[in-house]
């Protein structure tokens, strides 16, 4: 139970970084940390004490396998977070080209 809480604390640190920081790169870093903790939490749910990795051994029949479903789901989620992070970084680069700064309080051309 304690390990789940540590993972959610990591989630909150990332959330703090996204909501609180003024620098675009810090916000992207916070987003990355949120996605790391999210993936870790899902895999933690599937762990079995003294389990073995879910690959059949040639010689003997592996009995206590770890849950393969969260691993398949998190593999997809890792690549989704890569796709979103790459998109957000390319937007940040173009914003730096126009505004000359990464500080979101200075990027306020939009009204309201």
């Amino acid at each position: 139970m304690m390990i789940y809480l540590l993972c959610l604390i990591l989630f909150c640190i990332g959330l703090y970084g996204v909501l609180r920081k003024r620098n675009i790169v810090k916000i992207i870093v916070g987003l990355g940390i949120i996605e790391y903790s999210m993936n870790l939490f899902f895999v933690l749910l599937g762990y079995r004490t003294h389990g073995r990795s879910p690959i059949e051994a040639r010689t003997e029949n592996v009995l206590n396998m770890v849950d393969p479903l969260p691993q398949a789901v998190v593999l997809t989620s890792i690549v989704i977070s890569l796709a979103v992070t790459a998109l957000v970084i390319s937007i940040a680069i173009r914003i730096y080209e126009y505004y000359g700064t990464f500080d979101i309080t200075k990027i306020k051309r939009l009204k309201g």
Binding site: S53, I55, L75, V79, A86, S90, I93, E97
Partner: protein, 149 residues
């Protein structure tokens, strides 16, 4: 690889890169082909292939790598990979419903053992590898154009 000597990093990095790029590419292809036997698979292998191209570009500068695989060829190849994956899925219609694994299964520990899984892995790795390299090329080319302005 004829290139203007000043682009890219120092000579030491270039010689090391000449040695390791082939090995990284080979390792990536191994991971893709053995996806259903050992850990790894379409995604991991594809990203390793992309990294080998990125490694080449970082060491030798932009023009060498884009001569190997230019941007619009990359985006076309990526769409071809994605289309291949979709066609394998649609081919499942003959075997009943959408994503049926129509090829025969073969004996477990052999290379051609899991029906369409091998083809799926190859299609995904083609798409992921070329797509991520296209992203990196787009990022670098934007940087180049800004300096010229």
């Amino acid at each position: 690889m004829r290139h203007n000597p000043d682009a890219g990093m120092s000579i030491i990095v270039k010689t090391v890169t000449r040695l390791t790029v082939g090995l990284i590419l080979l390792f990536g292809i191994y991971i893709v082909l053995h996806g259903h036997i050992s850990p790894g698979g379409g995604f991991a292998g594809g990203v390793i292939i992309a990294l080998s191209f990125v490694h080449l570009m970082l060491a030798f500068g932009k023009d060498v790598a884009s001569r190997k695989l230019s941007k619009n060829i990359a985006s076309n190849l990526e769409a071809v990979g994605a289309l291949m994956f979709l066609l394998i899925a649609v081919a499942g219609f003959f075997g009943g419903s959408f994503f049926v694994n129509i090829l025969e299964k073969g004996t477990p520990f052999k290379l051609f053992s899991a029906g369409t899984m091998l083809l799926n892995n190859v299609a995904i790795s083609l798409k992921v590898g070329v797509g991520l390299f296209a992203i990196f090329l787009a990022l670098v080319i934007l940087e180049g154009s800004k300096k010229k302005k």
